[in-house]
Structure formats: structure tokens, C-alpha cells
């Protein structure tokens, strides 16, 4: 275990360090903004499923643009691999591209890295790095995130580390190969160009920074920044009580007859160091939800970062006190050629497991379980003679905390993504959204109530449409904490009513829908915190007024008796006292 603190005593003055840190953050954010504003695909520009970073000459991340939290630390393996495989071959004006998790330290094939070394006065001083989730990289399903893939060869185009530009000269063959292998070349090439533009600006701004502070000062600041982040993280970790905190959780399983997929995490806190062990977690599966180790690491970093009170810089020093074990051959560290296109669901679930363990260590800093990662419906077909692929991320609701009810209409902690406006969907696709609303009585009961589930209805306005759904948390819905109840389970239904058909949580093959069919998805509700009968009756009444809880649930679960009157809803204090005193 690694608990040796760095030597105290900064080598550069704290104010110069703070100024350089500001400059680095500003550059990383600027790269992220350039990609957001020039990208083509909605997954990049609306869902912001991409990240940018500035690294030092060793490839260690110094600052990361704040976009997708689950990308924290995502450049570590990629940069280590790049430095190793390209030793002696990195030249000014080069631009590297890759995506493969096994050949290049990537995450899954849709995440394409574009990385530029930054030379100042002939010597390598840093790297401008970007990674973006592309709309499609080929493979057996549109979107390249098939749950049903059995190995990575079915998932699309694999790119080892290649030079997209070689000493300033573009390599058109790579663009041509990519364009020939993806379903939507305009969007993919457009997004790649956005990444290239960001790297170019990163190089320019980095040079301005070096010119202003001087090479030696900047180098010293980089080293100190890592030490500083480590000190900050250690100071916080040291306050968490020592011990081993275990948590087990389960993904429903794959397809029509799902077998549960268990997760097991042990978080050991010793002094200022943290060790996270995934031993006991399911073996890798013959489906696209395996999480390559870089993604497992990112899930651990993001969860730990979330329980720190300090504003820790997104630099590699923060990760130094953290060690991670995930046995090879598990879903958390798959061996090639395991498929991993839809590994998002696994990463989100690993973060939720981390929170389950941390809830025992720092109960006031963690919420009960939420709806989990995004539900990813993929609806494709032909409309007015053109192929369309509609994908969006449906999120989300959170569990309750020690101090307040679960938040509704919020992204998962791992992916700060947006919804897609209903009006934009209807203007572009043969779909009509008929409902987008909260579901009453769906929040886990508790002293603090879990956030309500939300429902989204899609009316299909074209013939022979194909639907796949990646969702989570049906048989094993979001857990409550400290006596709080579970949230309601998620569900996907075709044509709700007497003729309805229920879809699997993780569909292994597409379902065909006809014009006029209705696809309904309901995400899970958030878990509650503390016993329901300790909830303030006034809050229960407010929930009923707002339509979040019914009078029946108020009585049966919260044990608060409410009566509807002309002037509103009143608490029957006496009846409530009697009902709450009843131990049964």
C-alpha cells in the first residue's frame, strides 16, 4: 500500500503555482469549449461525452476540461501506452490517433483519442489531449455499442496508435479508412476535425504560457502541482475512518432470460491511502458490457473525488494515494477479445458500488442509490428514403441524503449529460414524445425521500423501426440507506395496456416496431434515507400537494393520514399519531 506522503514544502511559491494552475485549467476548458461548439454529433455536443486535458512531458494529466466526470483519469493508460510504444518517434507537428482498449489503452472503440505533443524550442514540454465518443465506428449495430457483441471484432474499426499527422503533414489514408468504415462519416470526420482544432489551440496556448513564466518555472510548477493535489487528497482521505468497507451489488443480466451479474468491491482506508479491490466481481461476459481497466480506474477516481470536500485539481497527483486491483478476466478488467462497446452501464454501476461502500465510511457525504447510468434507447429505420439512427441518454434521479430529498431531473454523477429537447427530436425524427414526466410514488420512502422516477413515451411514426435498449436496475432497484426504502424499478414497455410487451433490461437483439406503436421507458426511482415513518408529516403533505406522493402511499408507507378538504390537504394529526405508534 502506498501511504508515503510527499515531502512538504513547495519548491515554487504558492502564488506562482496558483497562477500556473489557473492558466492550465483555462487551456483545458478552452479545448473543451472548442469541441463542444464545433462538433457535429449530438452525443458530443449535447451529451458532452468527450474530454480534454493538458499533460506534462511525461504524459501525466495536469488539468482536465470539465465535461464527463467518468473520464477522470482516462488519459493515464492511454498516455503510458503512447509514451512506451512511440519512444523515440515523437516529433514536432505529430498528431496521434487511436481507440483500441487492448492495443492502445483506450476505453471502447467509439472513444477516439486525438493527441498532440507540444514542443517548445525543440524540446517536448507537454501534450494536448482529447478523447470523444463518436457516433459510430462500424460494427454490427449502428452506434457501435451493441450489447449483443461477443468479441471486439464485432464492434467496429480498431485503431492502434497511428500518426494522423506526421510532422505537420496530414495522413489522408487514415481519414479515408475511417470514413469507409463508419455509418455516418460526415459526423465522425466533423467531430475528429473538432478534436484536431482543439489540439492545435492547446499547443498555441501552452506555448504562450511557457513564454510568460519561463520553461524552468513551468516545469517546477507541473511537478509541484502533482504533489499539491496529492497532499490535498491525502489530507481528506486521512479523515475517513480506517477500515475495510465492502459492498455487493448486481446487474440484472443480459437478454430475455437474464443471469445476475455480481459486483463486489472492498474499499480499504489506511491512513491517507485508499485501496480498492474488485475481487469477487463477475467474470467477463460474452456481451458488450465489459469495462476495460482504464474505465474501472476512472469509476473509482470519480467516486472518490466526489466525497472530497476540497476542490482537488483534476491532475494525476490526486490519484497517487489510490491503488486499484481488478483481477484479469473479470468484467472490471476483461482480457482480449472481450467486447466492451456498451461498457457504460458497468462503469456507472461500479461508481454506485463505490458509493455503497463509502456510505459506510462517510455517511453524510453520500446519497442513497439513484436511477443509475443513462438509459440508452437506440431507434433506427428509414424515413423519407433516408436511414436514421436516433440515440439519446435518458436520466436521471438521485437517492436521498442525510439532509435532503433525492434530486429529480439530474444526470448520474459519472456523466453530466443533457436531455435532447423534445421539439428538436420531433423536428428531425419520425417520433413523437407523448409524455416526459415524473412518476408519483416511485421515490424510495424515507425520512428523506428518494427522487421520483421519470417516464418518457415515444410514439413511432414510421414503418419497420428497430429498437434496442440499454437500461439498468429492474430486478435490483436503487437501494436506500440507513433504513430508507428502495426506489421503484425501471421498465421498458411496448404498447402499455392489455396487449403490452415488456422488453429485457439489456436487449441482446433489436425489436421491430410498427407505425403507431408506443415505446415507454420508466427509469428507476431513487433510494430513500432513514426510516419512512420518521419523515416530517408536513413534508409528506407537501409531496401530496405536489402530486409526488399519493394519499394512499402517505398512509401506507409514511403512516401519515391526510384528508382532502376544500382549502387543500390537511394532516389528521390524531390518526397519524396512532398509525405511527403502531409497531406493525
Amino acid at each position: 500500500m502506498n501511504d508515503a506522503a510527499p515531502r512538504p514544502g513547495p519548491k515554487v511559491s504558492p502564488f506562482v503555482l496558483e497562477i500556473v494552475r489557473n492558466a492550465l485549467d483555462a487551456i483545458a476548458d478552452e479545448l473543451a469549449l472548442i469541441i463542444m461548439r464545433t462538433a457535429y454529433s449530438s452525443i458530443v455536443r449535447d451529451a458532452m461525452d468527450y474530454s480534454t486535458a493538458i499533460c506534462d512531458a511525461d504524459g501525466s494529466t495536469l488539468a482536465q476540461g470539465l465535461t464527463t466526470p467518468l473520464h477522470l483519469g482516462s488519459f493515464f493508460d492511454a498516455m503510458q501506452n503512447l509514451r512506451r510504444t512511440q519512444k523515440g518517434r515523437v516529433r514536432e507537428g505529430d498528431l496521434f490517433i487511436f481507440n483500441d482498449p487492448y492495443l492502445a489503452g483506450g476505453q471502447h472503440l467509439p472513444d477516439i483519442y486525438v493527441i498532440r505533443p507540444i514542443f517548445v524550442g525543440g524540446s517536448l514540454e507537454g501534450w494536448a489531449t482529447t478523447v470523444a465518443h463518436h457516433n459510430d465506428v462500424g460494427g454490427i449495430v449502428p452506434g457501435s455499442n451493441s450489447i449483443g457483441s461477443v468479441d471486439i471484432f464485432q464492434e467496429g474499426l480498431r485503431l492502434p496508435v497511428l500518426k494522423l499527422h506526421d510532422q505537420g503533414r496530414e495522413n489522408p489514408a487514415i481519414y479515408d479508412i475511417i470514413a469507409a468504415n463508419v455509418r455516418v462519416p460526415d459526423k465522425v470526420i466533423g467531430d475528429l476535425k473538432a478534436q484536431v482544432a482543439a489540439c492545435t489551440v492547446g499547443e498555441r496556448e501552452f506555448r504562450v504560457m511557457v513564454a510568460r513564466f519561463g520553461r524552468d518555472t513551468v516545469r517546477a510548477c507541473f511537478a509541484e502541482l502533482h504533489d499539491y493535489a496529492e497532499r490535498l487528497a491525502r489530507a481528506e482521505f486521512a479523515e475517513i475512518p480506517d477500515g475495510t468497507y465492502r459492498f455487493a451489488n448486481t446487474i440484472d443480466g443480459l437478454g430475455a432470460s437474464p443471469e445476475p451479474i455480481p459486483f463486489q468491491v472492498a474499499v480499504t482506508v489506511r491512513g491517507s491511502a485508499i485501496h480498492v479491490d474488485w475481487t469477487g466481481t463477475s467474470p467477463q461476459v460474452r456481451a458488450g458490457i465489459n469495462a476495460p481497466i482504464p474505465f474501472t480506474r476512472a469509476a473509482v477516481y470519480a467516486a472518490l473525488r466526489s466525497v472530497l470536500a476540497s476542490d482537488v485539481p483534476n491532475c494525476e497527483g490526486f490519484t497517487r494515494p489510490i491503488t486499484i486491483v481488478a483481477p484479469p478476466g473479470t468484467i472490471a478488467n476483461p482480457l482480449p477479445p472481450a467486447a466492451c462497446g456498451a461498457r457504460g452501464v458497468t462503469g456507472f454501476r461500479m461508481m454506485d458500488c463505490m458509493f455503497g461502500a463509502l456510505a459506510q465510511a462517510v455517511p453524510s457525504r453520500v446519497a442513497a442509490d439513484g436511477s443509475g447510468g443513462s438509459t440508452l434507447p437506440s431507434i433506427s429505420g428509414v424515413h423519407r428514403g433516408k436511414t436514421f439512427v436516433f440515440v439519446e441518454t435518458i436520466m436521471g434521479t438521485w437517492g436521498a441524503t442525510a439532509t435532503h430529498d433525492g434530486q429529480e431531473g439530474v444526470a448520474h454523477m459519472g456523466a453530466n449529460q443533457s436531455n435532447v429537447p423534445v421539439e428538436l427530436i420531433e423536428a428531425e425524427y419520425p417520433l413523437r414524445i407523448e409524455q416526459y414526466a415524473m412518476v408519483s410514488d416511485s421515490g424510495g420512502a424515507g425520512r428523506h425521500r428518494g427522487g421520483l422516477a421519470m417516464v418518457r413515451d415515444f410514439r413511432i411514426l414510421a414503418d419497420d423501426v428497430s429498437l434496442t435498449v440499454r437500461s439498468d436496475k429492474r430486478r435490483f432497484p436503487p437501494f436506500g440507506l440507513h433504513g430508507g426504502g428502495s426506489g421503484s424499478p425501471s421498465i421498458s414497455i411496448i404498447n402499455p395496456g392489455p396487449e403490452q410487451r415488456i422488453l429485457p433490461v439489456l436487449t441482446m437483439e433489436p425489436t421491430t416496431l410498427r407505425r403507431g406503436d408506443l415505446f415507454r421507458h420508466v427509469i428507476a426511482g431513487g433510494g430513500g434515507y432513514g426510516p419512512a415513518r420518521e419523515r416530517d408529516p408536513g413534508l409528506v403533505r407537501d409531496d401530496v400537494v405536489l402530486g409526488k406522493v399519493t394519499i394512499a402511499q402517505a398512509r401506507d408507507v409514511y403512516r401519515v393520514v391526510l384528508t382532502e378538504m376544500a382549502g387543500g390537504i390537511a394532516i389528521d394529526e390524531a390518526a397519524t399519531r396512532i398509525l405511527r405508534a403502531d409497531a406493525s
Binding site: 502564488f15 489557473n22 497532499r231 416526459y436
Partner: protein, 696 residues
């Protein structure tokens, strides 16, 4: 002085209400500006305004009847939302969609924070009422409006004593008929009700942003209307019979009665007035490209003036906290998609508190000591080191009194607190420690400037810095150095610059309409009719015959999500004009993002906007008549570890010459202090601006 007996022309007077002070500025015909600070009166702001005007006019020996236009900026709209003191508001929307307002766009403003709590929506769920109706994206009726449902909602409005209603139906930007019918039914039943239709205030696609904008307007509507009526009446009672004009967030002023109909347009009017003042002043002194820095007690705000014009944004959130310079993290406030001057803000002001985080890093702000207790030197119990205390230690701020001698301070308290709270923990000398605070505060401000410049593809080195606000002149040089800016301008009246900006603003009003079509598929005849209708509308609203009209198109590459604004010709668009638009967009894209998409699938027009402007402001640069320029003794000032301490002359703006003088010089005025370090040169230009030039 104007002869009161024969006021050939009525005078303009500006009143800008801030949290503590109401700044009044009287604009004389010769450009002379008389200013006065009066205490704000939050229980009834109109009283403070009228009192300030009375005092100023009395001091000048002028009757109130000499006043023509009253130009006004206030914080009432923003505060109503921040303090949640708006009208009891309901929302009527399409069945199945009442939670759109609460879901927002799902993204949260803070990453890695499981304890984040979303602000409550302005309309609670039980007042978000659904009616059966449905349009599709082309505006065709899928399901007709169910008037029985509307009758049901009217009963609820009555029972719940609702004062204001926003109506927002899906796709109402494409067909307003259902919203208009509901509006008619509401107005017939409740003639006094404040009703906002989303298709009136923001006929643009994206349901959350349109709903939120309509809700904000309804929520503040009754409060702003009452306020405007009360102020108008108070001014009239005082014998001022000119027009009352108010600043909009977009930087144009507008008749107060019109503002009362669209109050959401004045949300950010205070900072906007300062930027407008800077734009005008920059024009007077021949600067085309300027970055503005408005630094007060708690925040620093930056904005960009390019080719003599302000820059606007419509990605704005009300009450989302300080709008941190990074635009990546959003979702903290209520979306308001109306044009706002693009202003970026950071929590760095004179009162910002100095602290160390757990990794030992020196931090400045965003927490502020405010006006009370204020910095330690105020001797009002302030027990934490602030930026102002550091500036006292450095010798930048007068050691005995602020505000031209009117507010005594104790420098020894600044020294003590900076020594114990900053120097000793850092193991630095007192001056070096204070310098660290100064430099870190500047670095924070740099983020705000970058957000409006480099983040939008502009290089700050190609701009001048115009600094105002009480602390702008103290930080301007250090900030400029960090951004490689060479010239700094500190305008006259920098401490009351928002009031001066009000006096220099034009009357303006604009409207936008959704188009959402590729340039090569546009029905030119329909677009031209639409533009002409909008033009008639905005010119009519302006109420001025000499309106100048500007047309612009919001455009993007087909498939992108973010638009850029491209000017349109002021005549009917022909085929040639439409064909030229994609190239004009390419040029704008290149300028913002550094590249053009040669293989794009065409260029789309998302919306068109028509703005009418009428020039009413005096065309002479403002200058401040001086009553007395008191001499000050030289003092020691510390200009960083490389330069060290220098004996520095302290002068008044009037003592500067048009010939550049070498620093170090400190310029002290009633409105604020300006620092010129030894390696810079300073002069006064023809418009009374302090101009500082830095060596390359």
C-alpha cells in the same frame, strides 16, 4: 453651467441602483457629467432615486423641471428571482409535459458533488397545469385545444389566487394559435392578470428554454410593473415630466411602459450599462477593440467590445450563482434565452477573502467580506485578510482614508491581518505576501477575461483593457500583463460608470423569429415578409421615427448545435444574397473557431433577428468638472519582488499631462485609485481618460 431660466433643451439624468448606493449622473449638453452617490432605499427604491436627483439638482442650482429623459438601471428583476419574491405564478402547458420546467436540461452545475441541491422551480408542480392540445414540428394541429381543459385550469387559477400565468405549448414557435386562444380566454376572465405567451416572448425551438423564459417573465412581471409605475409616479410628483427609459440586458434602453410588458429583458441591466459606457468611451478615444474590466467589492466582470460593438449571448442563466468563467458547467440557474451582453464574472473584488486550502494553496475569494464587516482596515470587526488589505499593505490604497478622504481606514489593521493570515503561513515577508494576494486575484480575473476572449477565438493581446469600478484601476496593469495587453484605459467617473453608461445609451429593441432551414431551401418571399413584419413591429415598439434597423441571422453548419450571428442586408433578400450567406458564415466560423468545414452539408439559418436603434445620447465624450484636486504626500509602494519598493508620487487625474510620464505614479480620485508601476508610462488623453502603456 446651464442657465436655469431658459432651458433650451431638457437635460438627461441617469439613476443606477446598486445594493448600497444609487448613483446619479446628470449629463450636460457639453458632455460634462455631474455625479452623486445617494443611499439606496430597498423598502422603496423610488424614494432614494428621487432624493438623489433632488440633491444633485439642488447642488447645481437647477430646477427639477429642467430634466427631460430619466435613464434608469435597477436590480429589481434579478433580486426578485434571487430572493424568490416574485408573483404567485402558474404555468399552462401541453398535457404530459408539466415537468419540463423542473427537469431543465438534466445537466448539473457542479461535478463530483452528491450533495448538490437543485434550486426549486419558479412555479411549483401543483401550479403547472396541463391541457390537452398538440402540434407537430411544422405547426400542424395533431390534437385540437380542449377548451374544457382550459376552463378547468381557470378554476384552479382562481382558487389558488394566481397573479401571473405563463403559457407554453410544444411547438408554439411554429404555430401560436393555441397559446393565443388560451391568452384570450385568460385575459377575458382575469383582465388584471399578467399573462406571458411563450410564442410572444421567445418564438424559438427548444421547449425548456422557451418555457423557462416565459415563466421568468411572468414571475417578475407584476413586481416590475408595479415598480415602474411607482417610480414613474414618484418622478412625476416631484415635477419631472420627461420620459422614463430603462436599460435592457442587451444594452439598449427602452420606454419603461414597454419594459413592463417584457420585464425579462432587464434582468442584467446593471452590468450592461457599464459595458455600454465603455463602448461609447472607447469610440470617443478611437479604440475599436476593448476588453472591459468592471471590478467592485465582490466580483470582477469582463466583456468584449470588438470593432466598436458589444458582444451578446443568449446562453444565460438567472440566479445560477456567480457565472464562473467556464461555460462548460451550466444548469445552476433558470435559463433565460433573450439577448444579454456577454459578461463573464468571477468572485474577485476588494472584499474577497484570502484563504489557504488543505493542500496549502493560496486562494482569493469567491467569499467576500462584503460592505460589513468589510476588509480589516474598515475597523468594523473584519477578522480575515482581504484583497483591499493587501492593497493597503502594498501602498496602492491611501493609508488614511478611502473615497476621497470621506471614509477613514486603519492601515495598521491591514498590516496586522496580512502578516498573521498570509505572510507568516507562507513564510514570506509582509510585502511579498501582499503581492501574492494581488497576483492571485489578478489570475482569477484572467479567467473571466479569457471566457469572453480566447474561449471565443479572440486574442486579448490585440485588445486594450478598459478598467472601471472601484478597484478596476488597481488591478488593471497586473491583469494586462498576464494577458499580454499593452494599453490600459481608465475612463473618467470610473467609480460611477454604470450611471454614465446609462446616460450614453441608445434606445433599442429587437425581436427574433425561428427559421430552422438550410440556406439553399429557404422560401425567400416568406422570409422577406417575415423580416418586414418584424421590422414594423420593432420600429413601432421603439416609438421613434429615426430608427436604424439591423437584421442578423443566427446560422450554423447543418448538424451543428451552436449558432453564430451573421449580418443580413437591410433590403429584401434575393437569390444572390442567400447564396452569399454560407461564405459569410464560413468567415465567422473561421474567426471564432479557427477552421472552416469545407465538406459541410450546407448551412442553416436557425433564426433571424431584427433590431431597431435610435440615437438619443449626447455625442460628446463625458468629462468630470473638478471642484478641488487636493495634493497628497508621496508614499512607498511595493511593485513586486523584481522591482521592490519605490517612493511614489500620488496625484489627481487633473495633474496628468497629455505627454506620457514614467511610473511609478498613483492616481487618487473620489471614484477610485489607479496604479502605474515603474515600468509603465501614463498620460491623459483628450477625453480625460487615464491611458497607461506597458512596454512589450
Amino acid at each position: 453651467m446651464v442657465d436655469p431660466s431658459c432651458p433650451t433643451r431638457k437635460l438627461r439624468i441617469a439613476a443606477d441602483i446598486g445594493g448600497t448606493f444609487t448613483d446619479i449622473a446628470l449629463m450636460r449638453d457639453d458632455g460634462g457629467v455631474i455625479t452623486r452617490k445617494a443611499a439606496s432605499t430597498p423598502d422603496d427604491y423610488a424614494r432614494g432615486v428621487v432624493r438623489g436627483i433632488r440633491e444633485l439638482m439642488a447642488a447645481q442650482g437647477l430646477p427639477l423641471s429642467a430634466i427631460g429623459d430619466v435613464l434608469h438601471g435597477c436590480t429589481i428583476a434579478t433580486n426578485t428571482i434571487l430572493e424568490r419574491k416574485g408573483a404567485r405564478t402558474a404555468l399552462i402547458t401541453t398535457r404530459g409535459f408539466r415537468d419540463v420546467l423542473e427537469f431543465r436540461r438534466i445537466r448539473v452545475p457542479r461535478l463530483y458533488d452528491p450533495l448538490y441541491v437543485k434550486p426549486a422551480p419558479l412555479v411549483p408542480r401543483n401550479l403547472r397545469l396541463e391541457v390537452t392540445e398538440r402540434l407537430d414540428a411544422t405547426g400542424s394541429v395533431v390534437q385540437p385545444l380542449d377548451e374544457a381543459d382550459v376552463a378547468g385550469t381557470i378554476a384552479v387559477l382562481e382558487r389558488e389566487a394566481v397573479e401571473a400565468v405563463a403559457v407554453c405549448f410544444l411547438h408554439a414557435y411554429a404555430n401560436a394559435a393555441h397559446e393565443q386562444r388560451v391568452g384570450d380566454l385568460l385575459r377575458a376572465r382575469f383582465p388584471e392578470m399578467f399573462v406571458t405567451l411563450s410564442s410572444d416572448i421567445l418564438p424559438e425551438i427548444r421547449e425548456y428554454e422557451r418555457t423557462s423564459t416565459a415563466v421568468i417573465n411572468a414571475y417578475i412581471g407584476p413586481i416590475v410593473s408595479r415598480y415602474v409605475r411607482a417610480l414613474d409616479a414618484a418622478l412625476h410628483d416631484a415635477g419631472i415630466d420627461g420620459r422614463l427609459l430603462m436599460m435592457q440586458s442587451s444594452g439598449g434602453i427602452l420606454d419603461a411602459a414597454r419594459v413592463a410588458e417584457v420585464p425579462a429583458r432587464i434582468i442584467e441591466c446593471g452590468p450592461a450599462a457599464g459595458v455600454i459606457g465603455a463602448m461609447r468611451q472607447a469610440g470617443f478615444c478611437g479604440e475599436r477593440n476593448v476588453i472591459t474590466l468592471d471590478m467592485g467589492g465582490t466580483t470582477a466582470k469582463a466583456s468584449l467590445i470588438e470593432n466598436g460593438a458589444i458582444t451578446r449571448t443568449d446562453e444565460y442563466e438567472v440566479a445560477g450563482g456567480i457565472s464562473l468563467s467556464s461555460r462548460l458547467v451550466k444548469g445552476g440557474g433558470c435559463a433565460l434565452k433573450l439577448p444579454v451582453i456577454d459578461i463573464s464574472e468571477v468572485g474577485a473584488g476588494g472584499g474577497s477573502i484570502v484563504w489557504f486550502d488543505r493542500g496549502g494553496a493560496l486562494k482569493v475569494g469567491p467569499r467576500s467580506a462584503g460592505a460589513t464587516p468589510g476588509p480589516a482596515c474598515y475597523d468594523a470587526g473584519g477578522s480575515e485578510a482581504t484583497v483591499t488589505d493587501a492593497n493597503v499593505v502594498l501602498g496602492f490604497i491611501n493609508p488614511t482614508a478611502l473615497a476621497g478622504g470621506t471614509m477613514p481606514i486603519r492601515a495598521d489593521l491591514s498590516h496586522d491581518i496580512t502578516r498573521t493570515r498570509v505572510a507568516e503561513p507562507l513564510g514570506l515577508g509582509l510585502h511579498e505576501a501582499a503581492w501574492s494576494v494581488h497576483a492571485v486575484a489578478s489570475a482569477n480575473m484572467m479567467r473571466a477575461v479569457k471566457a469572453v476572449s480566447t474561449y471565443r477565438g479572440r486574442n486579448p493581446a490585440e485588445f486594450s483593457l478598459m478598467a472601471f469600478g472601484g478597484n478596476g484601476g488597481i488591478f488593471a496593469v497586473e491583469l494586462a500583463r498576464q494577458l499580454q495587453i499593452r494599453r490600459i484605459v481608465v475612463p473618467p467617473g470610473a467609480g460611477v460608470f454604470s450611471a454614465i453608461g446609462l446616460g450614453l445609451a441608445d434606445i433599442a429593441f429587437g425581436r427574433a423569429r425561428a427559421v430552422l432551414t438550410r440556406t439553399d431551401r429557404i422560401d425567400a418571399a416568406a422570409l422577406n415578409t417575415s423580416l418586414r413584419t418584424m421590422e414594423t413591429d420593432v420600429v413601432g415598439t421603439l416609438g421613434s421615427a429615426e430608427a436604424q434597423v439591423r437584421r442578423t441571422a443566427m446560422m450554423r453548419y447543418a448538424g451543428q448545435a451552436f449558432e453564430l450571428s451573421v449580418p443580413l442586408p437591410d433590403h429584401d433578400l434575393g437569390l444572390g444574397d442567400l447564396a452569399a450567406l454560407p461564405r459569410a458564415f464560413d468567415a465567422e466560423h473561421e474567426r471564432n473557431y479557427g477552421h472552416v468545414l469545407a465538406d459541410a452539408e450546407g448551412v442553416e439559418i436557425i433564426a433571424v433577428e431584427v433590431t431597431a436603434t435610435a440615437v438619443v445620447a449626447p455625442m460628446k465624450p463625458p468629462w468630470l468638472p473638478v471642484t478641488a484636486a487636493s495634493g497628497q504626500p508621496d508614499r512607498h509602494a511595493f511593485f513586486g519582488p523584481e522591482i521592490g519598493t519605490c517612493e511614489t508620487p500620488v496625484v489627481h487625474r487633473r495633474n496628468l499631462d497629455t505627454q506620457a510620464a514614467a511610473g511609478p505614479i498613483i492616481i487618487e480620485e473620489y471614484e477610485g485609485t489607479t496604479i502605474v508601476p515603474p515600468d509603465a508610462r501614463v498620460r491623459l488623453d483628450a477625453q480625460d481618460d487615464i491611458v497607461i502603456e506597458l512596454a512589450a
